[in-house]
């Protein structure tokens, strides 16, 4: 007795063309081979383009092996991560201090009730009133009331002024405290290395490449109103160790004469770098307007 499933399979097999199974096997193997090949080093994959990172050269000293300029990169080089530890300490020390400043300021309302005190002052008034009855015939009750009110106002104003002065004095004292505290604060990254964000070397300063890039960029003037399309050009520039341009060569011109002319001007202005290089160097420079034309 053959099971109905097997029967169905046999029926299907009768429909298959001869050699179908082999073909199916080959197909499966090929499908398996495809991802293996894809992930093999035979087919290098294009790196995913990362968003641009803007680097600012704060120190223009050219070095061969720039060290990392980021604080987080420091522990990688110097394993005794002793310095980073104290870093957090000053931070909390600084932060909580400004906070208590506010609670100090809260007491402000307390002196405020003080001006309310003048209310009981009227108690003293009856004392005054007693001597006043003598000139009663001269001063009417209405006049008395106005006088009293006026006195109250003067007292209140005086109290207000006193409070204000006290408040100002407190603020000044707090400011002085804060200033004194801030002068004691030390930067948590004082020991952070100076160098390139992506530096891995052992010298403080900016890499020669970054320096040359910035120097040539500063010599290049071109207006966005001159631009048509997305011009791109490639230039090879050879510099001696003294920073003198030995020769240059356009590998690819943009085809936009205004753009190419502006590059020629930039190259002419970059004949002499403002600092020598660690060694004679060759630069393959790609000029384009990506960052300028992306702006609205």
């Amino acid at each position: 007795m053959v099971s109905p499933r097997k029967q169905r399979w046999q029926q299907l097999q009768s429909v298959f063309e001869p050699g179908f199974k082999q073909m199916l096997l080959i197909s499966v193997l090929l499908h398996l081979l495809l991802p293996i090949l894809y992930y093999s080093p035979l087919f290098p994959k294009r790196a995913v383009e990362k968003p641009p990172v803007y680097k600012v050269n704060l120190v223009n000293k050219i070095v061969k092996n720039p060290q990392a300029g980021r604080p987080e990169a420091a522990p990688v080089k110097k394993k005794p991560v002793v310095k980073p530890k104290p870093k957090p300490k000053p931070k909390p020390a600084v932060k909580p201090k400004p906070i208590p400043v506010k609670p100090k300021a809260i007491p402000k309302p307390k002196p405020k009730p003080a001006p309310v005190k003048p209310k009981p002052v009227p108690k003293a008034e009856p004392v005054k009133k007693k001597p006043q009855p003598k000139p009663k015939p001269a001063v009417s009750k209405a006049q008395e009331n106005t006088l009293q009110k006026r006195l109250e106002q003067i007292r209140a104003n005086k109290q207000k002024q006193a409070n204000e002065e006290a408040r100002k004095a407190r603020i000044a004292a707090l400011k002085a405290d804060a200033l004194a505290e801030s002068s004691n604060i030390k930067s948590p990254i004082t020991d952070a290395p100076v160098g390139m964000a992506d530096g891995k070397g052992d010298e403080a300063g900016v890499s020669a490449i970054a320096h040359v890039q910035e120097f040539i960029q500063q010599q290049w003037s071109f207006s966005k109103y001159q631009a048509t399309g997305n011009p791109e050009a490639e230039v090879k520039m050879f510099y001696s160790a003294e920073g003198t341009l030995l020769h240059f060569k356009f590998i690819k011109k943009s085809g936009n004469s205004a753009f190419d002319e502006s590059l020629l001007r930039a190259i002419a202005k970059s004949r002499q770098l403002n600092q020598p290089l660690p060694e004679s160097m060759e630069f393959h420079i790609f000029f384009n307007l990506k960052d300028m034309l992306d702006r609205p």
Binding site: E214, F222, S223, K224, K236, E282
Partner: protein, 435 residues
């Protein structure tokens, strides 16, 4: 010996590979200075006794205005000029380029003028200070009244030399002004000078447009009660009615080849966009919808027309393909989008959008993406029109609470400045082609 040759070859190949591999790769994706430092000296008298400082001053003022508007240049302060600025030398070898380099200039304009028998000769040079080359040079001759025109023409020449495309400064702007109490057609220079009244209809004149091929204008006038489309030859002053269908004959726009005119007709009781010939005969009906279709504007290729329609409720910009009559919607934002103007360079369409009761100028790509607002602040800004090179836009603005005036700005919305004189209530500007 054989081994030596082989090893030498290998060493050389390796060293070559190493040397090429050592080239540091740098990408510079924006210039450090995004304007061109330009030094512009005053015109110096060329002949003895021909000095007229007023001529030199006027020339300087016009040329400087044009160059500043272009946004290309950063002018070097004349106060810092050294001795070379006072020398007439117009030849490359006569100029002390070192002085100009010291001032940071990369380009230099030098010129001289002479006046004889009421005629002025102005000789001008533009130099590249860095490469010490002559970029362009011209000698202009004309009447004393032509000094402004000469300055505009040389400004165009400078832009041609530095960008590869001529500037639009020697073109004309047509606009509607109420200076006489009636809305009449006027013509002026790009900087607003020399306004000339072109019509005297003592009625309402609207919507001018320049022919791209001939020195003539079309406009709508109510002088014969009905809003008819007129054509006017600029130099002869000859005028004729081009389209006088019953109802509206408004918003006429020449096709880029100047052979046809797109306009709004309401002869069938509903305003639709039509194409007519330059003899006024109807060639084609482009829209057929119960809604109101107005304000056509041609694409630079002449195969599409942008127009305003309220077929989806609020007035929005639509595009109709002239061949297939297929209509696509361009704008979706805003409650009131009007007066589209297609850039002569293609790519972008300028229009006015009303938000909170105020119109502002926007541009959008012809595929409906990348919408940008160009004008801000109080007062409505309407009727944008492009310069023939697509670098600038003109529009009318009522910043002073009611009185409209003509303004100019760069295509990115920067450098806006008023060009029409006050007191005219000026609107509906149109920019001529190359004059």
């Amino acid at each position: 010996m054989k081994y030596f040759k082989v090893s030498l070859f290998i060493i050389m190949t390796i060293s070559l590979l190493c040397s090429t591999a050592f080239a540091a790769r740098i990408e510079i994706s924006a210039p450090g200075v995004q304007t061109i430092p330009l030094a512009m000296t005053h015109l110096i008298p060329m002949g003895v006794g021909s000095a007229q400082p007023a001529v030199a001053e006027e020339f300087q003022q016009v040329l400087q205005g044009d160059l500043e508007l272009s946004g290309l240049f950063d002018l070097v302060d004349p106060a810092s000029f050294l001795s070379d600025a006072r020398k007439l030398g117009l030849r490359r070898t006569d100029i002390d380029f070192y002085q100009w380099r010291m001032l940071g200039a990369e380009t230099l304009i030098k010129g001289g003028y002479s006046i004889a028998a009421g005629k002025v000769t102005i000789e001008l040079r533009l130099f590249d200070v860095v490469s010490q080359r002559l970029l362009t040079g011209r000698r202009y001759m004309g009447k004393l009244t032509d000094v402004r025109k000469i300055a505009h023409t040389f400004a165009d020449q400078i832009l041609l030399s530095l960008t590869g495309e001529k500037g639009p400064f020697s073109t004309k702007i047509a606009y509607i002004s109420k200076r006489t109490g009636h809305k009449e057609l006027y013509l002026m220079d790009v900087d607003g000078y020399q306004p000339i009244r072109m019509t005297n209809h003592r009625s309402i004149v609207l919507n001018p447009d320049f022919s791209p091929t001939r020195k003539e204008l079309i406009f709508t006038s109510y002088s014969k009660e009905n809003p008819d489309l007129y054509r006017k030859e600029i130099y002869t002053g000859r005028e004729s009615r081009l389209s006088l269908k019953q109802g509206l004959n408004i918003g006429g726009r020449y096709s880029p080849d100047g052979r046809e005119i797109a306009l709004t007709l309401s002869k069938d009781k509903n305003s639709e966009i039509y194409l007519i010939g330059t003899d006024g005969t109807i060639h084609k009906r482009l829209t057929n919808h119960y809604s109101i279709d107005v304000d056509p504007s041609w694409s630079p290729k002449g195969n599409k027309i942008a127009f305003v329609s309220d077929r989806r409720g609020n007035p929005n910009i639509f595009i109709v393909d002239i061949r297939t009559l297929e209509v696509t919607r361009l704008t979706y934002e805003g409650k009131y989008n009007a007066t589209p103007a297609w850039s002569p360079k293609g790519g972008r369409i300028a229009f006015a959008r009303m938000d909170n009761g105020i119109f502002n100028i926007f541009t959008i790509r012809e595929d409906g993406t990348d919408e940008r607002q160009l004008t801000f602040g109080k007062g409505s800004k309407e009727h944008p029109r492009w310069s023939p090179d697509g670098r600038f836009l003109i529009y009318s603005a009522d910043l002073n609470g009611g009185e409209k005036s003509i303004w100019i700005m760069r295509a990115d919305g920067t450098g806006a400045k008023r060009i029409s004189a006050p007191g005219g209530n000026d609107s509906h500007p149109a920019w001529s082609g190359r004059w």
